[in-house]
């Protein structure tokens, strides 16, 4: 191991890791916010339902890398030239929205129909039922898969290096080819991803345990 070279690279790598975290956070925000209306449309009737399903299936079927290329290069002829970082955030966010929409849907459909009927019978309108009865109960079931998605997203940001978005993987590639030390740099950077993912993984496990406990109590009741 070439400790000196690696040590000298650390400031750059830490800076890049910060970009990775920012990219992850922003893409996650887009996915989490956009996913909910998408899930609700998907469960509803009519054209919105069909459109939402079409969107979700398309996103599931198209590689994220193709989507990133499309947004970064494909939009240029239309006069839309995004920075690589922004293109990556949008691309990852849009495909994540489709994924989280399905997570939300599973959570909402896991709520007993009797709960919705009870809420309707105290005179609640659709929105109120959703807000006060359905979502609070779907939440515990939704959190663990959401956490898993966040961990996956953190690692998936590495594909943004292919459109040269400044993040950890791109910096690692640049440095390793500069110093001809692929083993050293990729081991180090792999470790850095692990260190960032670790707390998320632990948090997700905790949520899973809590959700399982809730389910157990549900059975006893």
């Amino acid at each position: 191991m070439s400790w000196n070279i690696l040590a000298d690279s650390m400031p750059q790598l830490l800076q890049a890791a910060l970009s990775t975290l920012q990219m992850t956070g922003l893409a996650f925000l887009i996915a989490a916010v956009l996913g909910l209306p998408l899930a609700l449309a998907r469960m509803g009737p009519g054209l919105p339902g069909v459109l939402a399903l079409g969107y979700i299936e398309t996103m599931r079927g198209v590689p994220q890398l193709a989507l990133l290329f499309l947004i970064y290069f494909g939009l240029v002829p239309l006069g839309i030239a995004l920075r690589a970082f922004d293109a990556a955030v949008i691309g990852l966010g849009l495909s994540g929205a489709a994924y989280l929409a399905e997570v939300y849907r599973a959570g909402v459909q896991g709520v007993e129909p009797g709960q919705i009927e009870a809420a309707q019978m105290i005179g609640m309108r659709r929105r109120a039922v959703l807000r006060h009865v359905v979502l609070p109960q779907a939440w515990p079931a939704v959190l663990p898969p959401m956490g898993n998605y966040l961990v996956a997203l953190l690692k998936d940001t590495s594909i943004a290096s292919i459109i040269s978005a400044p993040e950890l993987m791109l910096r690692a590639r640049d440095l390793s080819s500069e110093y001809f030390l692929p083993m050293d740099y990729y081991l180090l950077v792999g470790g850095m991803y692990l260190v960032m993912a670790w707390p998320l993984m632990q948090g997700t496990r905790m949520l899973e345990r809590r959700a399982a406990r809730g389910r157990l109590q549900g059975e006893v009741r």
């Binding site: 019978m121 005179g123 309108r125 009741r221």
Partner: protein
């Protein structure tokens, strides 16, 4: 009861007019006519699958009749007359209609993420837009009325079935409904917990609440109901005052049902 009354009876609070319901090929309700006067307690009895629950759910607009219709206080359930045409009710109109109807479910359906008192307060606060400071004393009073003042801050999972069902009744009453529907409210309860729920229902009847009670508790139907309806295979077979219907049922089908129920109870009670 096969012919609908030719003269409409405007005094009825609930009126089912030739209500029919099919689920695919299965005909669950066939031309059911029924009316409930304000303050009346009507018990609906009959074997499982006879359509009692479906009828109740049609009144609550949780199911939609495939033929006929239901009226509550002269207002058609699920449809409004708009410039000479019937159109389906909007989300808002359905919600407003249901505000006047309390429903108690077999499986209680308390909101598990809310405490007992929060369950009772949710409707007044979120639907009637009452201030919490106003809704809370009312909710406490209702919990006291069902004997659960001391459980106000318990979550449903900490309550017995009977306690949950009493909270569910309080939750319905908090909306000050003019009609209460009970869908086999005691069927999911352990035998020793049935009495406490029936006692609350009895109090409610004594206070003059209009009640439609789908039940297997023949003793309760006989003591509390003003009128009993026997249903079988989606039809109203026979109806009348409890004394007549239980002591001298006129239809063979009613006789057979009551005999079966009484035999079962006698067997259960035998030493």
């Amino acid at each position: 009861m096969s012919d609908p009354p030719l003269v409409p009876r405007p005094e009825a609070l609930v009126r089912a007019v030739r209500v029919g319901k099919r689920f695919g090929e299965t005909e669950v309700l066939r031309d059911v006519d029924l009316s409930v006067q304000p303050g009346e307690v009507l018990a609906i009895i009959g074997p499982s699958g006879s359509g009692k629950t479906t009828l109740l759910r049609c009144i609550a607009h949780l199911e939609h009749p495939t033929s006929g219709h239901v009226e509550i206080a002269g207002e058609r359930v699920g449809a409004v007359l708009d410039r000479g045409h019937l159109r389906p009710m909007s989300d808002r109109e359905i919600a407003r209609l249901r505000q006047g109807i309390g429903m108690v479910f077999q499986r209680f359906n308390l909101f598990p993420h809310l405490t007992a008192i929060e369950n009772v307060m949710l409707g007044p606060v979120q639907v009637l837009r009452r201030h919490r400071s106003e809704a809370e004393p009312l909710a406490r009073e209702l919990l006291r009325k069902v004997g659960l003042a001391h459980k106000a801050d318990s979550y449903p999972e900490r309550l017995s079935g009977g306690q949950q069902q009493r909270v569910a009744i309080a939750r319905s009453l908090a909306m000050q409904p003019r009609l209460m529907l009970f869908d086999e409210a005691t069927s999911a309860l352990d035998p020793e917990l049935i009495g406490e729920v029936l006692a609350v229902m009895r109090d409610l009847a004594r206070d003059g609440m209009t009640m439609l009670v789908v039940t297997h508790e023949m003793g309760f139907a006989e003591d509390v109901a003003d009128r009993v309806v026997f249903m079988d295979h989606g039809r109203v077979v026979e109806e009348g005052p409890p004394r007549e219907l239980f002591r001298a049922p006129s239809h063979a089908r009613t006789q057979a049902f009551l005999r079966a129920v009484i035999d079962r109870q006698a067997m259960a009670e035998a030493p």
